[in-house]
């Protein structure tokens, strides 16, 4: 009886935004008389940090400190449409909506500053909350003074709206799956190496380290994107070795109806997490960002399954990789039952799990591989 170490890798890609697009997000922004900025957007923050990310985008785009921005996504009376927080779309799609709204606000600030300074707005820039003349930084007016001038002097409200929508990509050939437009906003990429220890006596798989690299396009907030990646990794670990709603799937018996009977990852399951970010900017996302919220839990299960094979020489392709499945696979391997079927150049694994093995021979659906 021994602990066996193994390593496996996976590389994945994932789309940003709803598949086939057609999912709008909108925002509007107003500026208070002291230059403070109020953002109204309908994007729910489900813990992904979208309030923070969108506030950063607005601050950067207008040219004011992050602390000047308040963000209100609290209700549908004051906030415009956001299709929702899913499909890895909150940073990219909803982020573009607030960015476009902020660009309008910036234009309005420059217009009014131009009147105050008697300089053409195109010769002005906004830096750290101050409107400065390009090439003559001593000529300037603060954004609070511009906002005050707009309110009390010019009788104007500084505001801006923005909307992001990529048109729906229709499937024009249902026989081939061809689409008439690109069906995503961007594609993100990641790789993962999982290191495991497999106990051949208990069957337990312990994930000891996950080395991961994500192409995030551009990290609007590195701390938050690292948090998404770490959290996703643990959710992927749960999918890989712990969790199932139906312990005897496909039976519905013995579903866990409480935390005590459903194994979710906890601190004791935490592996070492090594994360590498790379930034290959998206062509049309906010500051080059891509959405990686969902894919963060995708590469671990296959990397873990490959690592288990590396450790003890068995392929377990039903998740989760429980101690019972490991022990059964080791027993099958010991008795020579786990070998794939080889016929000519065709190698067939997992025959007992297949549709062909379970469905009636006259069922209309089967995977046919002509040997």
């Amino acid at each position: 009886m021994a602990i066996h170490k193994g390593r496996g890798i996976a590389a994945i890609e994932y789309p940003t935004g709803m598949n086939q697009n057609g999912d709008p997000s909108q925002a509007w922004i107003k500026v208070k008389p002291d230059g403070r900025v109020d953002v109204f957007a309908g994007t729910s923050d489900i813990g992904n940090g979208s309030k923070t990310i969108q506030s950063q985008i607005v601050a950067e785009t207008i040219g004011v400190p992050y602390e000047w921005v308040t963000y209100d996504n609290s209700n549908t009376d004051s906030s415009p449409v956001c299709t929702g927080t899913f499909a890895s779309r909150a940073t990219f799609v909803a982020g573009m909506a607030v960015k476009k709204a902020a660009e309008r606000v910036r234009e309005r600030i420059l217009d009014i500053a131009g009147k105050e300074l008697e300089i053409d707005p195109s010769d002005l820039d906004i830096v750290d909350g101050e409107v400065v003349a390009k090439g003559a930084p001593q000529t300037k007016i603060s954004v609070p003074d511009v906002a005050a001038a707009a309110t009390w002097g010019h009788g104007e409200l500084i505001t801006g709206t923005g909307a992001q929508l990529k048109p729906y990509a229709a499937i024009v050939e249902p026989d081939t799956g061809k689409v008439d437009l690109p069906p995503h906003s961007a594609i993100s990429y990641a790789s993962c190496a999982a290191e495991v220890e497999v106990d051949d006596e208990t069957g337990q798989v312990r994930v000891t380290r996950l080395v991961q690299c994500f192409d995030v396009g551009l990290a609007i907030n590195p701390t938050l994107v690292e948090g998404q990646i770490d959290g996703g990794a643990i959710q992927g670990l749960g999918l890989g070795v712990l969790e199932t709603s139906y312990p005897y799937y496909p039976s519905i018996e013995h579903r866990g109806g409480e935390f005590g009977s459903y194994l979710a990852p906890s601190m004791e399951d935490m592996p070492v997490l090594d994360t590498v970010l790379i930034e290959n900017p998206s062509a049309d996302g906010p500051y080059g960002a891509k959405g990686i919220g969902e894919m963060a839990n995708n590469p671990q299960p296959p990397a873990i399954a490959s690592a288990v094979h590396d450790a003890v020489g068995v392929w377990i392709t039903e998740l989760p990789i429980t101690p019972e499945r490991v022990l059964r696979a080791l027993a099958a391997k010991a008795s020579g039952e786990s070998e794939p079927t080889r016929k000519g150049k065709v190698v067939v694994y997992d025959q007992d799990l297949s549709l062909a093995a379970v469905a009636r021979p006259d069922a209309p659906v089967k995977l046919v591989v002509d040997p």
Binding site: E13, E60, G177, C213, Q235, P302
Partner: protein, 456 residues
């Protein structure tokens, strides 16, 4: 200071960790009624009799709502994408999963609400259930859905999602080896800390204020407005700060029924699912059944892939057709495979409907195809990094449905972990880039699939 790229603290992080963030469960609208549901104990049954009159007459009961009270009981949440509706808000003639709501009660306290649920008279005509997607197509399988055992409404009347690319038969003829495997990731829970919850206040001006934990305020408002057949300005959704969702809170699980009870009783309502309901009655990530056969050459090129997917949708379609379509668009993963033959079905079973969860449609295919890649590397005796780098998609390559990749990062992400692990690679792999294919990386079988990135 630059705001973008800065590690600024989370906007509401301090409030979250000091317990001062107010989530929907953290307050009670004054006078709100408790809501409880009558749920099916059977995975598949007809409803022979339903009589809520005794429950309605109970002291402390403010309202009981059944299917008869819902202006539009069946509404297709993705009808805008051409996906019609199949799921009733409240079961009418039959139930198709354990936990399916049949009636909801609003009462002065939790005990009365539970007693009222017990007082609803109901008789079932129990039917044979179907649980195994692999048996759904059998001629003698129990028929469990009005549309049959699988979703029939893809474009042009297709009953499955189909991808065809290149010449699949030629690829399999040319292959040195064909590797076939079966992959079955499990259903899991989204497992948010905050269970499904909402509160609804009928306002003096005739509007409804809905305190909601939805991940999608406008989407959920649209769902409620459609079921109630009211314009959007009848409603004010309040939310935007959610105690975890992971996809499970797109379903709009509580809001519509709480609105109906609030309207019928003219009093506020509050419905917080118990942890047991969250586990057993809310949607899960789908279980998937995937079979992959890859045609490969002995030096590690993947010439073609045949794949079949059975998506276990549970009792109703919800977002599953969307998930299978997304799955099909990504079934080559981060690689370029020029010859494809994919068929994916949305299969109905008598389990809790599955729905969106983080990675929807793709988590499954990443598991299947990446484990399969490792198997191919093992079969061929090729380093798994090298197999992946060789087939990695590059600028100018095309996706399963012909879209040109303009900025793929498969190569740099793989090289980054190899570097971090100190995994040695031959020089021609170590120096690979995302640039368009040429030389040894553009063998004959890939020439025809290249597209022009300038066109996209």
């Amino acid at each position: 200071m630059k705001a973008v790229g800065a590690r600024v603290p989370r906007y509401d992080g301090v409030a979250h960790v000091t317990g001062r963030t107010v989530f929907v469960e953290d307050f009670d609208v004054p006078g709100a009624a408790w809501v409880k549901a009558l749920r099916s104990p059977h995975p598949h049954a007809g409803i022979a009799k339903l009589d809520a009159s005794a429950a309605e007459r109970m002291k402390g009961v403010r309202a009981v709502v059944t299917a008869a009270d819902v202006p539009l009981n069946v509404y297709g949440h993705l009808s805008a994408l051409g996906i019609p509706g199949d799921e009733p808000l409240l079961a009418e003639k039959e139930v198709r999963y354990v936990g399916q709501p049949i009636a909801v009660v609003a009462a002065e306290d939790e005990e009365i609400a539970l007693a009222a649920v017990d007082a609803i008279e109901i008789e079932y005509d129990v039917r044979e259930p179907l649980f195994d997607v692999r048996k759904a197509f059998d001629p003698d399988a129990p028929q469990i859905h009005e549309w049959g055992n699988w979703y029939p409404h893809f474009e042009d009347g297709y009953d499955h999602r189909q991808i065809r690319k290149g010449d699949i038969d030629a690829a399999f003829d040319q292959a040195d080896l064909i590797v076939q495997g079966v992959y079955r990731p499990a259903a899991i829970e989204q497992l948010p800390i905050e269970t499904q919850v909402c509160q609804v206040v009928p306002e003096a001006n005739g509007r409804l204020t809905i305190y909601s934990c939805t991940q999608a305020l406008y989407f959920s408002m649209g769902v409620v407005a459609a079921h109630l057949q009211q314009p959007l300005n009848k409603f004010k959704f309040v939310g935007g700060t959610v105690g975890g969702g992971f996809g499970g809170k797109v379903d709009t699980a509580t809001e519509t029924l709480c609105c109906l009870l609030a309207l019928k009783s003219c009093k506020p309502t509050k419905w917080r699912w118990t942890r047991e309901e969250e586990f057993l009655c809310s949607s899960t990530r789908a279980p998937w059944h995937m079979e992959v056969a890859d045609a490969v050459t002995k030096d590690g090129w993947i010439l073609g892939r045949r794949m079949i997917t059975l998506h276990d949708s549970g009792a109703y379609a919800r977002f599953s057709p969307y998930g299978v379509t997304k799955h099909s668009f990504h079934h080559t993963g981060a690689y370029t495979i020029p010859n494809l033959h994919f068929d994916g079905w949305v299969v109905f079973t008598n389990r809790t409907p599955t729905s969106a969860m983080r990675g929807f449609g793709v988590t499954s295919v990443s598991f299947a195809t990446e484990t399969h890649m490792s198997r191919i590397a093992e079969e061929l005796g090729i380093d798994p990094f090298e197999l992946r780098l060789k087939n990695a998609n590059r600028i100018g390559d095309t996706s399963p449905n012909g879209v040109v990749y303009t900025d793929p990062s498969t190569v740099p992400t793989i090289l980054a972990i190899a570097d971090h692990l100190g995994h040695e690679l031959p020089a021609d792999y170590r120096t690979m880039t995302t640039e368009p294919r040429s030389g040894d990386l553009l063998p004959d079988h890939l020439v025809a699939q290249l597209g022009n990135p300038e066109d996209h």
